[in-house]
Structures are given as C-alpha cells and as structure tokens.
C-alpha cells in the first residue's frame, strides 16, 4: 500500500482490527518502512487509550437486566402514550383549521411566529390571524421529498408534537346549541349567522390549547431523519416555549350536509376527523360517509387562534426552513418570506393542480377563496376571511359571486 493511499481512517481501523485481512497485511507492510505512519499510529493509539480510560469510568448496566419485565413496562407506557397522543393530534388538526391538503397550514402557523408586542413580564410575542395568503406547492417536489398524501409530513409533525407538548386546555365534546344568542353566550363573541335562514345544526366547539418546548437538536434530527440535513434549524429556537391557543368557536350547517353535523356532534373529543368538512379542499375524502349535496353550506367562526413565542425567534428564518422542507428552492423561500407579514398572516399551502385559489374581498376584508379542481368538485368553494378578529370559513357550492354574497349575509 502506498503512503498516499493510507489515511487516518484506515490507520484507526487497523488499530481496532476492523480491516479485512488483505488490508491488514498491506498496512503492516507499509508501516514497516514508514516512520511518519508509525508515529501517526502511535498518536492515534494514545488518543484511543485516553478515551478508553475516560469512558471506562462511566457506569453501564450488566447483561442481566430483565427484558421481559421491560417489555411489559413498555406495553403499559405505550398504551398511556397512545391515549394522550390522540388528544394532542386532535388539537393540531383543530389548529390547522382543516384536515387533508391544508394540514400543512398548521405547521406554518405554529412555526411562523413573531414579535408584535413585548409583554411586560415575559417578553412574549403574539401571533394573530388577520390575513390569509395562499402558497402554491408543486406536487412534484412534494413527491420527491416523500411528502405525498401528507403522510410523511403528518409523521414529522406528529413526532415534533410528541416530544415536549403540554396540553394547557383540553378540548371538550362538541355540543348542539339552540340559536345565535345561546352560541354567543357560550363562545364569548357575537356569533353571526346567515340572515333569513335557520341552520339545520348549530354546534359549539370548546377552546383548546397546547404548549411546546422547542429543542434545536431534536428538530434538527427530525429533519435529518427525513433526509433533509441540508436544512438547518436556527439556534434561536432552542429552549423556546411556543404556546398555541385555539379559542372556542361555532359551526353552523345549512341545507343538506349529509351526516357531517351528527359526526361532529357524535365524535369523542379525542377523535381525528375535525373540520374536514370545513375546508374540504384538495384532500381528505370521506367516502364511507353520507355525502353532502349542493345545498349544503357550512360556516365556521372562531376568534383568531394565537401563538406566543419568545421575542428572539425570527419567524421569517423558520418559515424559510419550512418552505424549503415543502420543496421550495432556497432563493424562492427567501423571497417569499419577505413578502409576508409573519405576525399576522396565516399561510395556506395548496397543492398546485389540486386546488385553485384567489384573493378576494369580503365585506371590505381580505380573504382567500379556494376551490378543488377535481371533476365534480370544482363548483365547491371554501372562503376564508377575518372580520373583527373572528376567523370565518364558509363552505358551499356555487360561483365566486354566490360565495361572496353569502358571506355578506351574515348578521
């Protein structure tokens, strides 16, 4: 073996007897004639001895620890964890306002938090939804990232959530209410309904809240394991506590919405299907359920969810990581983040080709109108806007004018 073929790694493996026999004799032959490599081996050996001396001081367990007992303990732990995870996951869905194609929004909301005003005592920043903006995601890049069907993303989000999340307010089972006055009383804000129409069902949903502690290393390792070690989590997030609060809100159903209202009412607070009906754009088909028809209009109202975070977190920086994770190039992500006020904008990612969208005005407020582009579906709309701090989502069937007219009938 030539001197130039030998490197520190081979010499180190030689010391550890981790080379195959052919390599060993080649290395030995070279070592006999090369003083420099002999010295190198000696130095490597000294370092190794130093580490051995140090690490051997550390305790370790004997072989005997009983694996059967450990397995039984693990099974119990897993049962508990699965039970509590369900409720965290439900909160996440609730936060994202929708399942299916829009679940991504939750991720963006939770991670794109910025300082608006420093709270006197805790220097917390608060995020409130005032606007929506829509981000088109190219399905091809999602595929190449293994993110199709949200599966990978759901897993990633699920793992981020599973680590250090505390539920600060547990959601209750949704309950039916008689009218707008009763709904307003429960929800704590003036509920508006379509004028001149009586809802087929009016449902109150309790608020919910979680807190999560961010750990730079952990988030980074999740990115690494998702094959995106090129993305770096900024160090400013380390140890930061993010609080997410979703206030209580209402859902009103008009016309024939199939079994959607009864499913909402019948569900356990821990179940997994919230709000699929609300913004059913670009994903989440519930084939086994009774379908809504074209007369169905579903309206959701809730005060803006809020996200609090330490003031030193730069939301634009985090948004860039998230956007690149979703398949944007570094340059595009950088320029997109500059166009958005991250303290007040909910970014709704939509899959290009899966749905169409446009920015519209509803009663003088900016809003986003989304439509699925699949056959049989393209006349369905989801209209989202914020009015007096209340987030509205209106789902129905019809053209743009119908959607906006319907929205203007709230009182």
């Amino acid at each position: 073996m030539k001197h130039s073929d030998l490197n520190q790694g081979i010499l180190r493996a030689y010391l550890d007897r981790q080379l195959d026999p052919g390599q060993v004799s080649a290395v030995e032959e070279h070592l006999n004639n090369c003083a420099a490599c002999q010295r190198e081996v000696q130095v490597l050996g000294e370092y190794a001895a130093c580490v051995r001396e140090g690490i051997d001081r550390l305790p370790h367990l004997p072989e005997a620890a009983n694996v059967a007992i450990a397995w039984a303990a693990f099974q119990r732990k897993r049962e508990d964890a699965m039970a509590s995870e369900q409720s965290k996951w439900t909160l996440w869905k609730k936060l994202s306002l929708a399942g299916g194609g829009l679940a991504v929004a939750g991720l963006v909301v939770a991670l794109t938090v910025a300082p608006v005003r420093a709270w006197a005592e805790s220097l917390l920043a608060i995020f409130r939804v005032e606007h929506f903006t829509v981000l088109e995601i190219n399905p091809d890049t999602l595929k190449s990232n293994g993110l199709q069907n949200n599966q990978m993303l759901n897993q990633t989000v699920g793992r981020m959530l599973s680590d250090e999340v505390t539920v600060t307010q547990k959601p209750q089972r949704p309950q039916a209410v008689a009218d707008a006055a009763a709904a307003s009383k429960l929800a704590g804000f003036p509920v508006q309904l379509l004028s001149g129409a009586t809802p087929a069902a009016l449902v109150f949903e309790s608020g919910a809240g979680v807190q999560m502690k961010l750990d730079q290393d952990r988030l980074q390792s999740i990115l690494d394991e998702a094959g995106r070690s090129d993305l770096r989590i900024p160090s400013s997030v380390n140890g930061a506590t993010i609080g997410v609060r979703v206030p209580a809100g209402i859902m009103a159903f008009y016309g024939n919405c199939g079994d959607a209202p009864s499913r909402l009412l019948g569900q356990e607070p821990d179940s997994d299907h919230q709000h699929h009906i609300v913004v059913g754009v670009g994903g989440g088909s519930n084939k086994s359920h009774q379908e809504a028809d074209a007369t169905c209009v579903a309206l959701m109202e809730l005060p803006s969810p809020t996200v609090s975070a330490p003031a030193e977190i730069d939301p634009a920086q985090i948004a860039q990581v998230v956007l690149q994770f979703l398949g944007m190039s570094a340059n595009d992500a950088a320029s997109f983040t500059q166009t958005v006020d991250w303290t007040s904008t909910l970014v709704l990612p939509v899959i290009r080709g899966g749905s169409s969208y446009e920015q519209v005005h509803v009663n003088g407020n900016e809003g986003a109108l989304l439509r699925p582009t699949g056959p049989r579906q393209s006349d369905r709309f989801s209209l989202m806007w914020v009015e007096d701090g209340i987030v509205h989502a209106l789902n129905g069937t019809g053209d743009d004018t119908t959607a906006i007219n319907l929205a203007s009938q709230l009182e």
Partner: protein, 190 residues
Amino acid sequence: MSMAASWVEVEFEAIFREHYQRMVRVTRRVLRCDSEAEEVCAEVFLRLYRSGPGVAAGGLVGGWLYRTATRASIDALRANQRRGLEEELEGASSGQNEDSADGPLTRLLRGERIAEVRAVLARLRVEKAQILLLRYSGHSYKEIAEAMQISAASVGTMLARAEAEFSTLYERQHQLSRKTSQLETAKERR
C-alpha cells in the same frame, strides 16, 4: 392519527427484545441512573412504534434505534448539565459490586471523574459523542456505519477525529478540576 402502516406486534416485540438491553447499556453511560436510561430507551421505542415500520425502510432498524437512542441520551445529558444534575451516587451505581465496599470518599471521587468525562462528551458535537459512545460500548465499524448513516470506510476517520477532540478537552477538563480543588483546599486552610 394517520400512520403509514402499523407494526405487527410480534415483529415489534422481537425488535424490542433484540435491542433493548444493549441500548440501555449504551445510554446508561451518560445518564444519571438506571431508570433514566430505561426511560430514554422506552421513549425511543415509542417513537419507533409511532413512526411505523417505514422508518427503517431506507436502512436497518438497529441503526435507527442506536442513532436515535444515543442522540436522545446526549440531549438528556446536556439538559441534566444545564440543570446541574449529576450521577446518582447512592445505590444506583449498578453492576459494580465492589462499590458497596468503597468508602464515601472513594465514591465521591469516582463521581467527580464521571462528571468530568460526561462534561466533555456534552461539549462535543453530538455526532462525535455518539460515535464514541457506540464504539466504546463495543459496536463494530459496520454497526456504527449503520447507526450514523455513513459509509463503513469513513468510520475510522470520524472516530479518530472524535477521539483527538475528546482527548484534548478531557486533558483540559481534568487540569481545570484539579486546579479548582487545589484552590478550594487552599481556601479551607486559610
């Protein structure tokens, strides 16, 4: 929760039985007591369970387990250090039967040396600490390559670098501790 695919229970149990003890032994080196190591390893298996069998599709499940467990234990080590928590000396120094025969001073000194080694591991980049933990717990280069997601040929290089850095920091740490204890002795005399 929507999972890609679920584990077949017997397969998951087989993986647990194959790796659990070894994982606890590796992580115990940097964690304060047996139960903390067992806790961290159980968390890692929980994560594996949640992620479904797909998590290891691109590699071997053993590699994933040791990567995740060593990382989690080093995270926990760093957290312990931030909170100023040290090895639980009483009773929990498992497996070393001669412990019980030692006097309190010997145990105290041993505790200090353990803290020194761990302080150095906590200061290394996490990958370097991981490779040292794995190698010095008897993992082969092939196993390390799987766990660290690197080629077997680069294990030697990475290990050598980690050892060099550990040695330098360890020497320095040791000198520092010695100086501190000399100062304290001097103070006591005055």
